[in-house]
């Protein structure tokens, strides 16, 4: 056995974590507040849609996924006070009005014939954007000072990947002809434009371009 | 017409005696009784439960409560599928009873629930091979609840379900020997 009195480095040779990170406490809290807001909107919508979806397998998956995103919201809610935001509600909000418009469009489909639109909005637009935002955060924050956020991001990302795969497979199982494919693509394009206009789920710079300006939604551009 | 359904007109349920009679006629042929065999079926429309029994073998008199031939999804509507299941099983039992080689006990002799279940499995198994809805898993569950959730019980079920040419003593032996394993 090695000599227990022998000095060892605080960081083992294989531990390559470093201090520097892209986000200070304030920026980290701002991002986390937007994450909580979008996770709340998502779990509420999934919960509401359960009753409106006739496909039994989809209905049950939405019920399961609803909780995943509620749990993410809870994780972010609990992280906010640790980031010097003692009133979590203050930072729980959308990054901008374009994001509000995106959520309104995302949650618009209600009729039982619109399952494709409901799923496309979540699994082909929002969740890929969340995965992008969370991955950017994970890869750019300080691996030492922001370890609690990293831990939550890893749990959350695991759910997001699993749910995305579930959702994508549900969509593929519902697309039966060219018309369905076009429907899905058209809805995806409409929502994608709105989310691009918002700059991502945390606003401009969600995935790392701090100079990015929000784009105007195409519908609002004069002909 | 060899089939008589009473009452001729129904007032509490939306059943048509001619439709019921036609269903029974088809079953007479399917179970292998002579097609001109007279059968009388009494339906107690006042009761929404599912009792079904043979009242007499010679002449053939059957009795069902209205719920036995009712659509499980639409209250007070007739279900030909349910009628085929229930009356089919009764007629198959009648056929067994009319066959001296089967050796059934007299109609008024009580039969235990496990043996009755075993006989029903044997009857429905033969009906399913004649193109009727067998609901094998439903029958297997009924058999297991009376004979145990074991491989032995499942093998006994299989011998009844796919059996042919069994006699009543065989049915009793299969049921009782399986139940002995539970003790």
């Amino acid at each position: 056995m090695a000599d227990p009195k022998k000095p060892r480095a605080a960081f083992a040779p294989w531990d390559r974590r470093e201090l520097p990170g892209v986000f200070d406490v304030e920026e980290s809290a701002r991002r986390v507040g937007t994450y909580k807001w979008i996770e709340m909107r998502l779990f509420e919508a999934l919960g509401g849609w359960v009753a409106t979806v006739p496909e039994l397998d989809v209905k049950l998956r939405l019920g399961t996924h609803c909780y995943h995103h509620a749990w993410h919201a809870e994780l972010w809610h609990k992280r906010l006070p640790e980031l010097r935001e003692m009133n979590p509600d203050r930072l729980t909000g959308p990054p901008n009005e374009n994001m509000v418009a995106f959520v309104a469009a995302l949650t618009e489909p209600e009729a039982p014939e619109l399952t494709i639109e409901k799923l496309v909005g979540v699994y082909r637009v929002l969740i890929p954007h969340k995965i992008a935002a969370y991955t950017y955060h994970l890869n750019n924050t300080s691996t030492i000072t922001d370890a609690p956020t990293i831990r939550s991001l890893k749990f959350v990302l695991q759910d997001e990947f699993d749910d995305w795969r579930d959702g994508e497979m549900m969509i593929q199982s519902l697309l039966e002809n060219a018309e369905d494919v076009e429907r899905a693509a058209a809805h995806q394009a409409r929502l994608e434009q709105l989310l691009v206009a918002a700059g991502g789920i945390a606003g401009p710079g969600t995935i790392g371009d701090p100079w990015a300006k929000p784009l105007e939604p195409e519908a609002e551009v004069p002909a | 017409m060899p089939v008589r359904v009473t009452p001729e007109t129904f007032s509490m349920v939306n059943y048509d005696s001619a439709v019921i009679a036609a269903t029974v006629e088809k079953l007479i042929a399917d179970v292998g009784l002579p097609t001109d065999t007279p059968v009388s079926l009494e339906v107690d429309e006042r009761v929404p439960l599912g009792k079904a029994e043979i009242r007499s073998v010679d002449p053939i008199e059957l009795f069902v409560e209205g719920g036995a031939i009712e659509d499980a999804k639409r209250p007070r509507e007739f279900s030909s599928e349910a009628a085929l299941d229930v009356v089919g099983r009764l007629l198959m039992e009648v056929r067994d009873r009319l066959d001296p080689a089967f050796g059934a006990p007299p109609l008024d002799e009580e039969i235990t629930v496990p043996v009755r279940t075993a006989w029903e499995i044997y009857a429905v198994g033969r009906l399913s091979r004649r193109g009727h809805r067998g609901q094998r898993q439903r029958r297997l569950y009924a058999f297991r609840t009376r004979h145990g959730f074991t491989d032995v019980a499942d093998a006994a079920f299989e011998s009844l379900w796919s059996g042919d040419g069994l006699c009543f003593a065989d049915v009793v032996r299969i049921s009782e020997s399986t139940r002995q394993m539970l003790r």
């Binding site: 709340m40 779990f43 509420e44 919508a45 999934l46 919960g47 509401g48 849609w49 359960v50 009753a51 409106t52 979806v53 006739p54 039994l56 209905k59 049950l60 998956r61 939405l62 019920g63 399961t64 609803c66 909780y67 995943h68 509620a70 749990w71 919201a73 809610h77 949650t107 489909p109 209600e110 039982p112 | 007032s11 509490m12 349920v13 429309e45 006042r46 009761v47 929404p48 439960l49 599912g50 499980a72 999804k73 639409r74 209250p75 007070r76 629930v113 009755r116 609901q135 094998r136 898993q137 439903r138 029958r139 297997l140 569950y141 009924a142 297991r144 609840t145 009376r146 959730f149 539970l182």
Partner: protein, 285 residues
């Protein structure tokens, strides 16, 4: 998507057929007295001739109840703004409801598997929607008392009854599943009890309204009085589990009383219908 989805708009595939309470209420047929009262023949035991089918029907009813409980919990996540006002739902309550969505979705999955195990097809029997109707109250507190305390309380009783049947029949799969679902339901009922206390702490009038609503739902769910405390009741009030879920002794006593009351009303109603039918058909039986 609108807030408050009416029961008529619950989305189902073509296998499901809905039967309204009214349709059942105007059914003139009667169950003979000796077979409709809570008695030895009503309890599902393996020696009852129709026991396997009775268990299948009850299992399908459980599945439909789980489905509507899932839908109801999901709607509570969506229908209310987040907040502490009377028409709002606190953030933590919504988290609880989302958790319940997952639990109920799992219960649906379990019920489907159990249905296959027992030889039942999805949608084989009619769907009654009064469970979801209790989940449509515009006040979240009333919704919780109606659903989590009354409806989920019934689920406890039903699961307990099914577990007892499974034990008696030696069905290891059914017993295993009912045991797990029972554990979840106790949590849900406790959730309802906790939120009722918390949200009405300073509003006795609102608490009274909520409890009154619970009484109405409980009575409705007493299934014509078939749920009771007699040993031979088909769905026994599982006192022990109710206690675990936060019910006081007096509350459990009250539910038992309501069950008796509902049974008496049910029998009177049936007798009146039977009399009417006799007059119309000229029969004497």
């Amino acid at each position: 998507m609108k807030h408050a989805l009416p029961v008529e708009e619950l989305a189902r595939d073509e296998r499901f057929v809905r039967v309204e309470l009214f349709t059942r209420a105007i059914d003139p047929r009667t169950v003979p007295d000796d077979r409709q009262r809570a008695g030895p023949r009503i309890k599902i035991t393996p020696d009852r001739p129709d026991a396997p089918d009775a268990a299948r029907v009850l299992m399908h009813g459980i599945f439909m109840g789980e489905l509507q409980a899932l839908e109801g919990a999901g709607r509570t996540c969506w229908d209310f703004e987040t907040g502490s006002g009377p028409q709002e739902a606190p953030f933590e309550l919504k988290l609880n409801m989302a958790r319940q969505c997952w639990d109920e979705a799992r219960h649906c999955e379990i019920s489907v598997k159990l249905g296959e195990w027992m030889g039942t097809e999805i949608g084989e029997f009619a769907e009654a929607t009064f469970l979801y109707e209790a989940a449509c109250n515009p006040d979240p507190v009333l919704r919780l008392t109606g659903v989590n305390r009354a409806l989920e309380g019934l689920a406890i009783d039903v699961f307990n009854t099914m577990r007892e049947f499974a034990r008696a029949a030696g069905d290891p799969v059914l017993e295993f599943c009912e045991d797990w679902m029972l554990a979840d339901e106790v949590t849900h009922v406790k959730m309802g009890s906790d939120w009722l206390r918390k949200l009405t702490e300073d509003d006795p009038e609102r608490r009274q309204r909520a409890l009154e609503f619970q009484r109405v739902v409980d009575k409705l769910f007493s299934l014509g009085g078939f749920r009771g405390e007699d040993d031979d009741s088909p769905i026994r009030l599982a006192r022990r589990f109710r206690e675990l879920a936060g019910f006081a002794d007096e509350e459990i006593d009250e539910i038992a009383g309501l069950s008796r009351e509902a049974r008496d009303e049910f029998l009177q109603h049936r007798a009146a219908l039977a009399e009417d039918a006799r007059e119309r058909t000229g029969t004497d039986g």
